[in-house]
């Protein structure tokens, strides 16, 4: 819709008129923004396991979005007073709950962004619903955000368990092998991933010959029992699918290599992996592993241009979560600009059903039915060390999964 500034300005004017005609809840008449400013809140893990894949660098990404927005509209911008509030939710649902309330009520936050960890993400969705304020989730994977826990003010932006399972499960079954052994951390996220993968594998004509829930957190750090079991199953699995994340994923992969499972004919597929995980493990440890990525920094010139700017500010290459935070903040500001107000209901109205194209969202569409933001996803493979030409360029994209196929159809459980 907004490929040119002209179109953008025209549509902005239309929505602006519509917004005014509808008569917003504001009584001030001229005052279109609460407090004459926009406040974006980044609520995520700033010191724990997920602080590198999103964390403080997500704040940097949001600041970049504000700078780009201000540069684009200049004096025509709805306001120049756009600030960022941040808080650390420590991946704890109760902390996320109270921080979200504090952000909306006392810090004047118009939009909460990010919120990794599914259990915490769901809590914040409840708060957004209650306060009638906007919430773009980026960091969490659970499909419940657009399923039974969906609501009018919550949008799920970057990825979800269905996207991961559908991409990796289906393609790996078709291209590498039909028989799977699934190893998952035995808690909400892992169980959800296991179900999504099993469904995708079976649908693609594959078979799950074995699955095990490993203790979570795995205090001993040892996964060898499961790794030893894999090649002894009958029929022998072609693929070990690991759903572990972060440091546990590192442990599984290190031990997978130690027991030389690849030499024994058991390939490796990873449920959820971020660029930072590959960096930790080194491409050598993961060479040939396939996984589904929501975005990759060196995919094309546009991504690379963003990644270069990001690196100047953050000192590292962006993960897909960073790019998604940038995109989400930018699209929110565009929506406010178009609506001429930060009134949540008016902004939601402008967002629903909108097609969007930016550095993160390719063929993007904000679904009105369940607020799932759909976009192209990518089946990626880790390069062998010898092909890594520059730092952080660890992946080649095997195939683009079109937006229409990448995400599930709107769920019947979701009633906005």
């Amino acid at each position: 819709m907004r490929r040119t500034v002209g179109v953008a300005a025209a549509s902005a004017a239309v929505v602006l008129v519509a917004g005014c005609g509808g008569g917003g809840p504001q009584s001030g008449g001229d005052q279109k923004l609460t407090g004459d400013k926009i406040v974006l809140g980044v609520l995520n893990d700033q010191s724990g396991a997920y602080s590198e894949l999103s964390g403080k660098n997500s704040v940097t990404a949001v600041e970049m979005a504000i700078a780009d927005f201000t540069a684009k509209y200049g004096d025509k911008a709805v306001t120049k007073d756009i600030t960022v509030e941040t808080a650390d939710h420590q991946n704890k649902p109760d902390v996320a709950n109270s921080k979200a309330q504090e952000m909306y009520d006392r810090k004047g936050v118009d939009l909460i962004l990010d919120v990794p960890t599914s259990s915490a993400a769901l809590k914040v969705a409840d708060v957004a619903k209650e306060k009638k304020k906007l919430y773009f989730n980026i960091g969490a994977a659970t499909t419940d955000l657009t399923g039974k826990s969906c609501n009018k003010y919550t949008f799920h932006y970057a990825y979800d368990t269905y996207m991961l399972a559908n991409g990796t499960g289906k393609t790996t079954t078709e291209q590498i092998g039909k028989n799977w052994y699934i190893l998952y951390p035995n808690y909400a996220f892992g169980q959800d991933m296991e179900k999504s993968f099993s469904t995708a594998i079976t649908a693609a004509g594959g078979k799950v010959v074995g699955k095990d829930g490993a203790p979570f957190p795995n205090t001993s750090g040892d996964f060898s029992t499961f790794l030893l079991k894999a090649p002894t199953l009958n029929p022998k699995p072609d693929v070990l699918g690991t759903m572990q994340a972060g440091a546990e994923l590192v442990n599984v992969v290190k031990q997978y290599n130690e027991f030389k499972l690849r030499d024994k004919g058991v390939g490796l597929a990873v449920g959820l992996m971020f660029l930072t995980d590959i960096h930790s493990l080194t491409p050598a440890a993961l060479a040939g592993t396939t996984y589904t990525d929501a975005w990759y920094w060196n995919f094309d010139a546009k991504n690379r241009e963003f990644a270069d700017r990001f690196q100047q500010k953050a000192g590292t290459r962006p993960t897909f979560a960073h790019a998604a935070n940038y995109s989400a903040a930018l699209q929110y500001l565009e929506a406010v600009q178009a609506a001429g107000t930060d009134d949540a209901d008016a902004v939601v109205k402008g967002l629903e059903g909108k097609t969007v194209e930016d550095v993160f969202l390719r063929n993007g569409k904000i679904r009105a039915e369940d607020h799932r933001v759909v976009h192209d996803a990518y089946l990626a493979q880790v390069k062998p060390q010898s092909e890594v030409a520059e730092p952080w360029d660890y992946v080649k994209v095997l195939k683009t999964i079109p937006a229409a196929e990448a995400f599930r159809a709107p769920s019947a459980d979701c009633k906005l």
Binding site: A49, S51, P215, F216, G221, S224, L228, T232, D277, A285
Partner: protein
């Protein structure tokens, strides 16, 4: 059969880490009556030190295996002299709080510099293959860890039982007041023993670097199990800590392999064992009951 042997072997490898850490905790507790909560942090420093030495100075694994335990042992001695020593006469809770605070500081300092993401550390090339045991293949590195840990435990046992220093340490561990009465300067041995315990933790950390995720929280996760091990073995019992270390490694591995249909049991088995042992023998398997006053 080969499955059982492999799981047993793995349990012993996990147990080797528990044993090395528990042994250090046991000698420190015995000599100083200090429950060293910072033990996990020194284990982490051992692994991180190996990583930093390799990436910043190109120091290989084998050199790190010597440098880190010695370096951390010296750091431990300095720490004992500087702070821990001052609190030993007070309620044990003070040193508990001190070492706990120290853990948080050390973890966050490492986090500040290296972040929470795990750092890569490759297995030394000499040990990267597998050994064929007839029934099954096993990673060479794991065989090395097991052999090395057993040797080390035997060496410590030999020093403690066959040398004069060992006799002093054992005597001072069991009855410090009586040992002093015999004219032996117990205080002289406190600092080196503390350093030795810390050195063992650092050594375990270096050994863990190639096979575990190297990150600031790696020790915090492990130390909880190690405390259970020490309690099961009997607080302050040197033999007990080693035996319980290997034993718990085995129980955990077998639990994961054969009780996987009961995840609740296999995940908590260490603490179930601990509860049962405490009910049956409140001083631990090899601990001596305190004589009623």
């Amino acid at each position: 059969m080969s499955g059982f042997a492999q799981n047993t072997f793995n349990g012993l490898v996990s147990g080797a880490f528990y044993a090395l850490l528990a042994l250090g905790l046991a000698v420190i507790f015995g000599m100083l009556r200090v429950v060293n909560f910072a033990h996990g942090a020194f284990y982490m420093l051992g692994a991180f030190g190996a990583y930093v030495l390799l990436t910043e100075a190109g120091v290989p694994f084998w050199a790190a295996l010597v440098i880190m335990p010695v370096g951390l042992g010296l750091l431990g001695m300095a720490l004992e002299r500087a702070v821990i020593h001052r609190l030993t006469r007070l309620d044990p809770l003070y040193n508990f709080l001190l070492t706990f605070g120290l853990t948080l500081i050390l973890q966050d300092l490492v986090k500040l510099r290296y972040g929470v993401q795990s750092s890569p550390y490759a297995t030394p090339s000499l040990l990267s293959g597998t050994v064929n045991f007839g029934l099954f293949d096993f990673p060479t590195y794991r065989v090395f860890i097991l052999g090395f840990a057993v040797l080390l435990c035997v060496a410590v046992w030999w020093v403690l039982t066959r040398t004069r220093i060992g006799m002093v340490v054992r005597a001072a561990t069991e009855r410090p007041d009586l040992t002093r009465a015999f004219g032996i300067d117990v205080g002289r041995w406190v600092t080196p023993v503390f350093g030795f315990g810390i050195g063992l933790a650092g050594l375990a950390g270096v050994l863990a670097a190639p096979m575990r995720a190297v990150n600031p929280l790696m020790g915090a996760d492990l130390i909880i199990v190690v405390f259970a091990v020490v309690v099961i073995g009997g607080l302050g019992s040197i033999f007990g800590s080693v035996a319980a270390g290997f034993g718990i490694g085995l129980v955990q591995a077998w639990g994961e392999a054969y009780l996987s249909n009961f995840p609740i049991v296999s995940q908590t088995i260490v603490f179930i064992v601990m509860a049962v042992v405490l009910l049956w023998r409140p001083a631990g398997l090899f601990g001596r009951e305190e004589a009623p006053a």
